[in-house]
Symmetry: C2
Subunit: 659 residues, 2 copies
């Protein structure tokens, strides 16, 4: 392929992008015009993919981390022949219903590997994909798994802290098949990068143990050669590409306005002239389109031979491969949980909430080899490494990732692993640190990715570490997030039940929230079915007369509600206890069930060592709440429960006031 | 001071810390024992402070960013003579009510500059302090402002992304009076740092344009010399201190358990022997205590001469100095807002919500020179730089900080500026990016710092940039946070009113949330008083009969409620519109006022382009809600409002269904 031809290929990206942005009336021209040659080099000479089978498991992954440059991706997908990305869809860039949304939105059948646009998320996703690839390669062999992960990244992704977390851990883990392209255009939204940064970014990657190549990003030959080197190097690679933002649009190229200043028809005309491009808007001449479509078929032979290798698998091997690719759970997973539940319901005494989750995960190790656990430097207190080896450069079969003190990366990496497929990521830390991880959790919810976020130390039950470490508002803030299951089990039985639901839940993430402190068995003996699956259930019905009072509680406060009920019943007040491990599941129940659980015309009191915010939907106008009203304090756990008045006595008193 | 003496000084820290941790039954010995010599060098030879006047404005600031090592700080504060940190308080380490809480909690009269413990926050706070110092030095001169900011930092703070954001921007801004001490002990909670990091951290600082000195952290002379060099260098300095974690406790020093493994009486005994320390628990021999107390008085002469310089100020200068130190607002600030309100209430037409805030801030520039605005690379779309110069190495009088794409740092830096005092920080970005900033916002709320977080692009009104950029759950998640005012003005009049409240609010942060899109004037003509100060108010009372319906709305949806009311009134349904710019302020009103606003026995419908979560407390059992039920979409704004059914017609329909 001659360079001249290549320039035309790159210019096809440019003009499609300009035409779409002008038509939409808004968009970000900086990336598609500045990275056109880089994208052309990658997609026409290196990327292993098949637009006719966009979800081919062994495809190279491509992530546009600087997602505002979405027209670059859509141009590539249309040009290389992804069926869902039609010319009409491109013309309808940013119009409601078009797959060509303002920012790329997770749609793998259309070639969009992940949703990007919140800066820094994409490169962390890409790293997660590279981890998943390495793990699966160790598990299934290079015959089936042997692909690269490429990501385009702008200054924003590398200024965000998560960018450095990624650099640091990817270098440490020697993820050699991860290759980034930095769009080094020296411009951000505010103007020159000199306004906010003076460091040598490439050098920062070198310090992080990366392989770094610096090239002219408009020299396609140089970029292509850099990719060859990057693929050969055992370290992750940064190809630092010096570029001109918005290159090709005379009025704005190389300028602040190159980023996203509004473009007009005049700009499109001027760009046509500048690029010597003599075709109508959205028209790609046949020969050029054919060249691009050929690029889309370039690795077809790889695809075909991969299919042949797949077909040679034994039936058992094939079953297992198909199973993990589909994210299907294996035979026997449910029995493990049921057995655990039976065992713990026979046990006496209490155990730390998080340890129930740890025990469950230990038991699941063998049956779910696709489980990969990330933890942000809290191995001992969360105890989720049992029976696992660390994932390291020397042991890609390890399924436990020491993420370091990098919660944000851990979450976004987990999203990337889930988007990659074939593995089942868990991310473990304390609930108070979930705020660090939250932007990634939001992306998991938005994409509907089945990531399990596991949290320990879920309330003032943290004790003496004090209010920094005591989440009081975080349950509410997670419950506020759409498409996120938030589960807070009351004991080991509910822990098993919630894990059963969470593992079966494929359409979005789940947050599993556990206490640090010991929880007595409260759901034990009666737990013959999974009562948690409906989100809330009557744990103890009122006795001796019609129900007057309903106590609603979650997690560590269920035992408080049970004790309060005992006292109330003794005083002749017919009281039920409802355990509510998961509000979102309860919301999905029918009205009749909800009524039955919440009780009609009863006084309802919520009990949770957290703020009331959000509870009112269940309490009704006569309702009350026993919980926190502000941040916690440093002190002993029992002392704190007394101090903040979250006790059976306080519940009894609240009920009697309300009656 | 001889080295032998110094070792005894350092060992006093060690034994106090071990005794307190053993007594508490938990704590983190790694930092106080590993950084004892470093702390001794700093506090006995360099730190400018006066324990008898802990809030002396020109004191050097000291931040323990690795806050879990809190006993280091408490030991220093007790030994140097801070009155509030008594030996009893130390003995009651981690006991409810002691100032010696599990993690340091903001209490400047006790010498605790900021709350730390969420890793990475402290160093970003410290950077904010250094920014505040530089700005105030430019404004008031070195006679009054000339101090250093020192921070101790562990591996965690530097693995967290915010750490890199800080390195990058502090280096860029050449904050030469910021000096960090890295506790390079090669151990984290999980064990060896080799589990999660392989880079040369010191080199990363060098890339970030820092001055780096590497020393043996147990050689007090070397540390002291490094401090001398650091103070002289115009760049921010990292003193990388090679240390042994938990040094002095034979069983755990240099080991994983050195971090926070439980210590017992035997450990205290063994430490005594190892350190050749022959004193009872909590007993510091007189001569040693006197040496420490002398260290506390070491810079008394600096203090006295500073007071003399202060006393020489003219009355006007002194007034202004005292005013900004006290965080008091100047004469005339309120008039600026009132004038603006009058002007906009006479204007016809609409303006982008965020631009009202921009105009207000422009007007405030002159009257509030202590205002410092940080913005995360969104100068043009948020427009809060008007009439200001950038804060740069060459212009310390600039009051606008180009923070780059580093929201988390921006928030935590703002906290540090507020904690420093003398400046009034604002932090500006899009609401969708607030999740990145949230951990810092939580700390502002926990500390009760008057930081104003300004957000634009507050709903699906963002339009074509799509769901990544459209907050739907974030209002709820912020409202869930204790001690945080969340304000969402309906138009420019309410914007002025909310700013008036926010500026006067000193006991915690405020989030001011603005629309991107144009907002019509809806509160205009009647705005003779500040109605927003009560959080919610009747914007339009029902007409022709007793109120049947109350529409509750915020921000951009108030105009929708107003239009719906018009239609309902025409249909003979007596309907009131309540504007609710700030729930937290409304919650503080008396029951009578609340009843009057919400209406008794009326059907209430909430209208907000966000999720219902949290709204039920105002809607009652008969209530309804018109808003979002999940994430947004990419499309035109009006189209999206139609698509999601957030229209006057939908409100009318909802009301009629409920009636």
């Amino acid at each position: 392929m001659k360079k001249q031809q290549n320039n035309a290929l790159a210019n096809a990206i440019r003009m499609l992008s300009v035409d779409a942005i002008v038509r939409a009336g808004e968009g970000h021209q900086g990336v598609p015009l500045g990275m056109a040659e880089i994208a052309t080099a990658l997609f026409t000479e290196h990327l292993k993919f098949n637009p006719e089978d966009p979800t081919w498991p062994d495809r190279d992954r491509f992530v546009l981390s600087n997602g505002h440059g979405s027209m670059l991706l859509y141009s590539l997908l249309y040009l290389t022949g992804y069926e869902e990305v039609t010319l009409d869809a491109v013309k309808n860039f940013r119009v409601l219903g078009s797959v060509c949304a303002g920012h790329p939105e997770f749609e793998q059948t259309a070639g969009i590997e992940v949703t990007t646009g919140l800066l820094g998320q994409g490169i962390a996703n890409a790293m997660g994909m590279a981890v998943a690839e390495a793990y699966l390669r160790a598990r299934f062999g290079t015959e089936l798994v042997d692909h690269y992960t490429y990501a385009f990244v702008g200054d924003g992704c590398l200024q965000e802290g998560i960018g450095q977390e990624m650099i640091s851990l990817a270098g440490h883990l020697e993820l050699g098949k991860l290759i980034l392209f930095w769009d080094d255009n020296r411009i951000t939204d505010d103007g020159s990068t000199e306004l906010s940064i003076s460091e040598d970014v490439a050098q920062r990657f070198r310090v992080g143990q990366w392989h770094v190549i610096e090239v002219d990003g408009h020299d396609q030959v140089a970029v292509s050669e850099a990719i060859v080197q990057a693929k050969a190097d055992p370290r992750p690679s940064l190809i630092a590409c010096r570029t001109v933002i918005g290159r090709g649009i005379p009025r704005v190229q190389g300028q602040r306005g190159g980023h996203s200043a509004r473009l007009f028809n005049d700009d499109a005309d001027a760009t046509r002239e500048y690029l010597d491009w003599h075709h109508a808007p959205f028209e790609i001449p046949d020969d050029l389109l054919q060249s691009w479509r050929e690029a889309g078929r370039r690795t077809r032979a790889d695809y075909d031979s991969w299919q042949q290798r797949l077909n040679k698998l034994s039936a058992a091997e094939r079953y297992e491969w198909d199973r993990v690719q589909a994210g299907k759970l294996p035979e026997g997973w449910r029995e493990v949980l049921h057995q655990y539940k039976q065992n713990v319901s026979r046990e006496e005494g209490a155990k730390p909430g998080i340890f129930a989750s740890a025990e469950i995960n230990d038991l699941l190790c063998d049956v779910l080899p696709e489980r990969m656990v990330g933890c942000a430097d809290l191995e001992a207190p969360t105890s989720h490494k049992r029976s696992q080896r660390a994932f390291t450069p020397d042991d890609r079969g390890g399924s436990y990732i020491h993420c370091g003190i990098r919660e944000h990366l851990m979450g976004a990496m987990s999203n990337g692993m889930a988007a990659h497929g074939g593995v089942m990521p868990l991310a473990v830390t304390y609930l108070a640190f979930s705020d660090y991880e939250r932007p990634a959790m939001r992306m998991a919810a938005l994409m509907g990715l089945p990531v399990r976020f596991v949290f320990s130390h879920d309330s003032i039950g943290v004790g003496r570490n004090g209010p920094t470490h005591q989440p009081v508002e975080i349950l509410a803030s997670l419950r506020a997030m759409p498409n996120m299951l938030v589960m807070r089990p009351a004991d080991a039985v509910e822990a098993a039940e919630c894990w059963e639901v969470a593992l079966g839940h494929r359409t979005g993430p789940a947050s599993l929230v556990f206490a640090k402190q010991e929880l007595p068995a409260v759901c034990g003996a009666e737990a013959t079915e999974n009562r948690s699956r409906r989100g809330a259930y009557v744990l103890h019905e009122a006795e001796e007369g019609e129900r007057q009072v309903t106590l609603l509680a979650t997690g560590s406060e269920v035992s408080i509600a049970v004790a309060a009920r005992r006292e109330l019943q003794q005083q002749g007040i017919a009281t039920a206890v409802v355990s509510m491990p998961c509000w979102e599941l309860f919301e999905a129940q029918d009205t009749e069930y909800k009524k039955q659980v919440l009780g009609v015309d009863t006084v309802r009191v919520g009990v949770e060592a957290a703020l009331r915010f959000g509870w009112d939907q269940y309490l009704g106008e006569r309702g009350g709440f026993v919980g926190m009203t502000g941040f916690g304090l440093s002190g002993g756990v029992e002392e704190l429960y007394q101090h903040f008045g979250i006790t059976p006595e306080a519940v009894v008193e609240k009920v009697k006031t309300l009656l």
